[in-house]
Structures are given as C-alpha cells and as structure tokens.
C-alpha cells in the first residue's frame, strides 16, 4: 500500500472506474485535485466556460453513451452554478458523479470565502450526496458514488471534498470486492408472479398499447422492446425521453404521446384495453389530467425499477418492480410460451381504429415558399443527416418540433432536458455527445432564446474542436411562451419578445466558427448540406429566420384530458 494524498486518490478512483473524460472548472477549493489532474494521463479534462455547462456536458456524455458522466467544480459559486445541471440530470435519472471542492473542514460553518452548504443545497436534486470529512474515507466514498449513480434508478451523486481532505494523505488500497451496502440494494429481476399476471392480462387484450418511457433507454432495452412490440402486435408510443427506442419508421410506432404528442398516440393511450407502461412515469406532460385519463376503463401494467414511480399519479393494476430490460425479457419468454397454447385475440380491428386516427395526419403543416417553417427545417435536417445524427435540443417550441419531425432510428441519439425543461442545455449537451461519440454528426436544435443561455460555450467548442451544427430556429420570440400567451392570455405577449438579438453569424465568427444566416425556404437544404459536408470539421451556426407565429400542434392544454387535443389554430 502506498501513501497518496486525497487529490491523487480522486484521480486514481476515476481511473479505476474507467473514466476517460471529465468536464470541469477549477477554483480555490479544488486546486490540489487540479494539480493531480495535471500530473496524470488516464483521462482528459475539458475546461468549460461556466460550471453549468460542465454538468450538462457530463450529463449528455452519459445520455449518449451509457457511461457515468463526471464533472468537477469548485466550492461556493462553482457549486451553485452547477445546481441547474444537477437538477436537470436528476429529473431525467442520468447517472453522473459530481465532484465539488469544499472549504477546509476546520472552516466549514464559519462562512468562509466561497463556502456554501453543498450537501444541503444539492440534497433535493441528487440521488445521494456525501461530504468526505476524512481522507481515509475518500476512496470508498468515490466507489460508492459511482455504484449508486449507475445502479437501480440511475441518478447524479455528488461528492463534496474539503480542501484539506484533498491535501491529506493516507494508505491507499485498490478496491477488493464489489460494493455492498445494507441500506441500498436495487432489485433487477421482476417478481415472476407479477410478470405471469401481466402475461395473462396481455393474452386477453383486444386493444393492447405499449407506452415506453426513458427507462427503456436507461436500461438499454430497445431490442427487447422491439421484440415485445412484435409479439404483442401492439401500437407503441415513445415518450419524449424514449424517442429512438422504437425506430421512427417502425410500422407499429404511433409517435410521441402527451401535450404535443400525436393524435393517434393520445387516442390509443386513452382507448386501449390493456396499457403496458414501461419505464415511464405518467407525468403531467404525458397523460394530461389524471382524472380524465382514468375515465376510460382499461387495465394498466407498469414496469419500473423505482417503486415510487408506480401508482404515483395513476393507479395501476399490475405493478412490476425491476430493471426494464430484465423484466421485458422474462415477459417475452412467458408470453411466447403462453400464446403458443392460448392464441391471443386478433388486434386487427384495433389496428383499423389506430390507422383511422393516423389518417388525421396531425403533424401535417402548411409549408411556404416565402417564409421558413421550423418544421420544414427539422424535416430537411433529418434528410440531410440520413436520420443518423445525434440531436440535442434546448427547451421550447423547437424542442417539440425536433421531437415530432426528426424520426430517430436508435436510442441515445435524442438528447434533451425532458423533466426539468432546462433552457441552455443544447450546446453543452453537444459537447458531451461529441466527447463520447467522436466522428458522429451532431446537431443542436435550438432557438434564439435558449442558445443565449449558454452561448459562452462556443469558446469551449473552439478550444476542443467541437463541431456541432447549431440549427437555430430564430423566430424572434420566446416561442413556447408566446404560444401560451396567444392561446391562454389574450395574445398579451408579456416579455416574450426577443429584442436586440446579436448578429449570430458574427458571434460564431468571433469565436472562430462558421456562421450562416438563412431566410429563404429554398436555401434551407443547401445550407444544411454545406454545414454537414463542406464544413464537416467546423462548428457551424445556422441562423434560420423562421415564421414568427408558427405554433406547435397538436396541443393538449395544461390540465386538460389527453384526448381533448387542439389540432391547429382552427380548434381554438
């Protein structure tokens, strides 16, 4: 055993976990850790321009690769800047380890310079957090942090390290065995009796429906989901967090459900006789008003690794607690065996109904030769990238259009803030995606509002040669706010107007990137081709001047029932 100081132990533990990339920003309380980083070659550190971006980048690194994202921030303001990023990852159950510096143990509680109660501030938005008071506990704490972050329902775990703990030394021993904690033992296999009950229920279903959520992505169960969908011959919807789990061109895919989901997905959610919810949480943006949702008699089977997600907003008939991938495998095996003996009812009539709903063509929009329609830009982006790009987005109308019109063919390609709805994630997300997936096409679908929330990261992109194509749908409005104001607030556009926008072309150029401004529909496709082909190795900021007044349809207004959809402005 050798003596190491705390900072070296941190580096050693990161290397043990196979960490290759770390995002961060130095400061007083993490100087020893940064000194240790300077002296090592196991992982690469990416210096961001704002701590929030470090967390978002590490978050997207994880979302796009299934590795645990890691970031380092200093005490006080470093940590408070990181909180938005941590809360974003927490809401979407993303496995991450955040290392924060803290003032020396002797100064804790004395209102020291750059001190804040880190574990107190972050407690409600992490899966777990630790304050390490003794260097002897550091290695074990780091290992537990990774273990907790990636197992069970994943989530961000924070380790707060006082400066003296990173300086003090102790004997360091490599990990001996698997982590085991008496207070934390996530269950992966589902209860077989419950799975049997689910199979019996599915065998009688005349109108089955699969509602797949982010848990399918997190447990890497897209292949299993596909098999199950085929077995049941059921329509399948993917929530905003699950897009790509079912390929956008799968004939059984009915699109996204919810507030801006498709007509067919929402109608099928409401009118099915057995709803199979997988790694989804029936949240307000997906099922609308829970009372209205419960009006239709149907049986609900709910698979989730987190028992507290089950029967939280909607009472379910067959809860199955377990890892989505394991449970679907068991479910498929049992269903195959049982359906060989007992032929399930035909779903033909149900499909006829679903196809009638599809006939509404709810995502059809009136294109224009004069003004660029935002939906058109996303459709063209899909064509130009062959549907294979990683797409990050910010939050707002552009996010919904991206979700509706970019037909994702694989999971982990669509990276957005679903739960917390954090504007400003798009650009830092692209940085994380590129570190985890070098050589891939990456697009940031954003708006002129969101992009300005972390635009300083154009500098990081320059330093590390990150080359996403920023597809800015610039409508000179905070579009989603404006849409709600138009519909519910008498078109009083209170503070939703983006006045005094910068010249984004010049901004991009000032940071050493390529900037393009596009204001004619005919130029959309050539500009995208130029960005992805000619400027493949550059960051390109495409400032699309789009229709100012376009709204996202369909829409279920907040608090309304899932089938009370507005299909267009004519329904207002």
């Amino acid at each position: 055993m050798q003596d190491l100081n705390g900072a070296d132990i941190v580096v050693r533990c990161l290397a043990e976990e196979g960490v290759e990339h770390v995002f961060g920003y130095p400061g007083g309380a993490v100087l020893y850790i940064y000194d240790a980083i300077y002296k090592q070659e196991k992982f690469k550190h990416i210096l961001v321009r704002h701590e929030q971006a470090a967390v978002h980048a590490a978050d997207a690194y994880s979302r796009s690769s299934d590795k645990v994202g890691v970031c380092i921030v200093t005490s006080g303001p470093g940590l408070t800047n990181a909180v938005t990023g941590i809360a974003t990852a927490y809401m979407d159950s993303i496995p991450m380890v955040i290392i924060s510096g803290q003032v020396p143990t002797a100064a804790i509680g004395e209102d020291a310079f750059q001190e804040c109660d880190t574990v107190g501030i972050t407690r409600p938005c992490v899966k777990h957090n630790f304050l390490v008071r003794d260097v002897k506990d550091l290695a074990e704490t780091m290992r537990r942090a990774f273990y907790i972050a990636r197992t069970g329902r994943p989530g961000p775990v924070l380790v707060d390290i006082p400066k003296d703990v990173s300086f003090n030394t102790c004997k360091y021993a490599p990990p001996k065995s698997e982590i085991s904690m008496r207070s934390y033992a996530p269950v992966n296999r589902g209860h077989q009796g419950q799975i049997k009950k689910a199979v019996q229920m599915l065998l009688t279903a005349e109108r089955p429906m699969i509602y797949a959520g982010g848990g399918v992505v997190l447990s890497n169960a897209a292949a299993e989901l596909r098999k199950l969908t085929d077995l049941l011959d059921a329509p399948v919807t993917n929530t905003l967090m699950a897009l790509g789990s079912t390929s956008g061109d799968d004939p059984r895919f009915v699109g996204m459900p919810g507030m801006h989901g498709t007509y067919e997905a929402n109608m099928a959610m409401q009118h099915c006789d057995v709803l199979l919810a997988i790694g989804a949480r029936f949240d307000d943006r997906v099922i609308g008003n829970p009372k209205h949702f419960a009006q239709n008699a149907r049986k609900i089977i709910h698979i989730d690794i987190d028992p507290s997600s089950i029967s939280k907003r909607v009472r379910v008939d067959v809860p199955i607690v377990g890892n989505v991938k394991d449970v679907i495998q068991d479910l498929c095996a049992l269903y195959e065996a049982a359906s060989a003996e007992n032929k399930p009812p035909s779903t033909r009539a149900w499909w006829d109904q679903v196809n009638t709903w599809r006939g509404k063509e709810c995502l059809k929009y009136a294109n224009s030769n004069e003004v660029i329609k935002p939906q058109f830009v996303v459709e063209k982006l899909w064509e130009v990238t062959g549907g294979n790009a990683f797409v990050t987005s910010d939050v707002g109308q552009h996010q919904m259009w991206a979700a509706q019109y970019y037909k994702f063919g694989a999971p982990r390609r669509w990276i957005n803030s679903g739960g917390l709805g954090t504007m400003g994630v798009g650009l830092p997300y692209a940085m994380g995606v590129q570190m985890a997936n070098p050589g891939s096409d990456i697009a940031v679908i954003t708006g002129e509002g969101s992009i300005q929330m972390n635009i300083q990261e154009l500098s990081t992109c320059q330093q590390y040669h990150f080359t996403p194509k920023i597809v800015c749908l610039n409508n000179r409005f905070l579009g989603m706010v404006r849409q709600w104001q138009e519909i519910d607030y008498g078109s009083r556009y209170s503070e939703s107007y983006m006045d005094s926008l910068p010249d984004f072309v010049k901004v991009a150029e000032a940071y050493g990137h390529v900037g393009l401004r596009i204001d004619k529909p005919a130029d959309v496709e050539p500009a995208l081709r130029e960005a992805f082909k000619k400027h493949k190795d550059r960051l390109v900021f495409l400032d699309f001047i789009t229709d100012r007044t376009e709204n996202v349809w369909p829409m279920v207004k907040a608090g309304r029932g899932l089938t009370e959809m507005l299909l267009g402005s004519e329904d207002l």
Partner: protein, 163 residues
C-alpha cells in the same frame, strides 16, 4: 388516518435531514418525529407520525425506502403495535391546587419528579391520547410548560424491525 412509521437508517450526518427534506419537498406532513441511535450505534431508529389517505402513505413509505441511507421502513399501524410518548409538564401547584394536581397525576400514573413551593414537574408516559387526556384534566391556566418527545413505536409480539 394517522400512521406510525418506523424507519431504521444509517446513523450518518445528514440522514435525518434527508427524511425531513423528503417530507417538505413532497408536501407530506409530519406530526411528530423522534430519532435516536439503536443498540447498534451505526443505526438510528426514527419514528414519525403522519396522516393522509392510503395512496399518500404508500408513496411516503416508497419514498422513504428510496433514500440511500434508509435500511428498512415499516408502517406500524398496519399491525398490532405499541406507541409511547414521554411528556414532561410543569404546573402551578399552590394552596389547594397542590393536592388536586398530585391526585390527578396519580390517576394518570404520572410521577412528580421536581418540586418547588409553587410548582410540580410531572413525568408522564403513554400514548398520545393518554397524554392529551392528562393535559385536558388539568386546569389550563395552571400549565406553565409542556414538553412532549413525540411518539416512539414498536411492533407487538414477534414483529421486529431489524436488519
């Protein structure tokens, strides 16, 4: 309905604030809460009383179980159990009141544990109902100070909460 929820958790700094934070963040209410280490000093036993419809209680126990520091959770109200609360109550005791207060304390099996020429301090143990009844049996204006620990609970018979 009232529920007595018992939680066995790691005796770690911050563990209690995770429990309390969960209740405030999710809008659940805590009527009483008491916590102390067990015979194994690495574990704490927490008892809390909360009220709510069954769905809410179900969510409370699920969320408590989700906390990484929590080892086990039991809703004692689901089975036979014992509840006890310690109350210390200081009352004015002068003149003819003095004998009356002592008699009432005796009836409730309270013990007078401190005496001055103007006051008695009485120790009383029981479930919340008994302690409340004692308060009501006293002349309100005579009560100088009341301290209640909140309820501790344990299952009856073979029912145990242990790792």
């Amino acid at each position: 309905m009232k529920h007595v929820i018992s939680v066995l958790m790691e005796n770690e700094p911050g563990a209690l604030s995770r429990v309390v934070g969960l209740f405030s963040a999710r809008g659940y209410n805590i009527e009483t809460l008491t916590v102390a280490p067990t015979e194994d000093s690495t574990l704490s036993r927490l008892t809390l009383i909360t009220a709510g419809p069954d769905e809410v209680i179900e969510q409370i126990t699920k969320h408590l179980n989700r906390l990484v520091d929590v080892v086990k959770v039991v809703d004692l109200t689901e089975g036979p159990h014992i509840e006890r609360e310690l109350m210390l109550i200081k009352v004015r005791a002068v003149g003819k009141e003095r004998e009356e207060v002592k008699r009432t304390a005796d009836i409730f099996r309270g013990r007078i544990i401190d005496v001055t020429d103007k006051t008695y301090t009485i120790e009383l143990t029981g479930d919340q109902g008994k302690n409340q009844a004692f308060i009501e049996a006293l002349d309100r204006s005579a009560i100088l100070e009341t301290v209640r620990t909140g309820v501790s609970g344990i299952g009856r018979g073979e029912r145990i909460l242990k790792i």
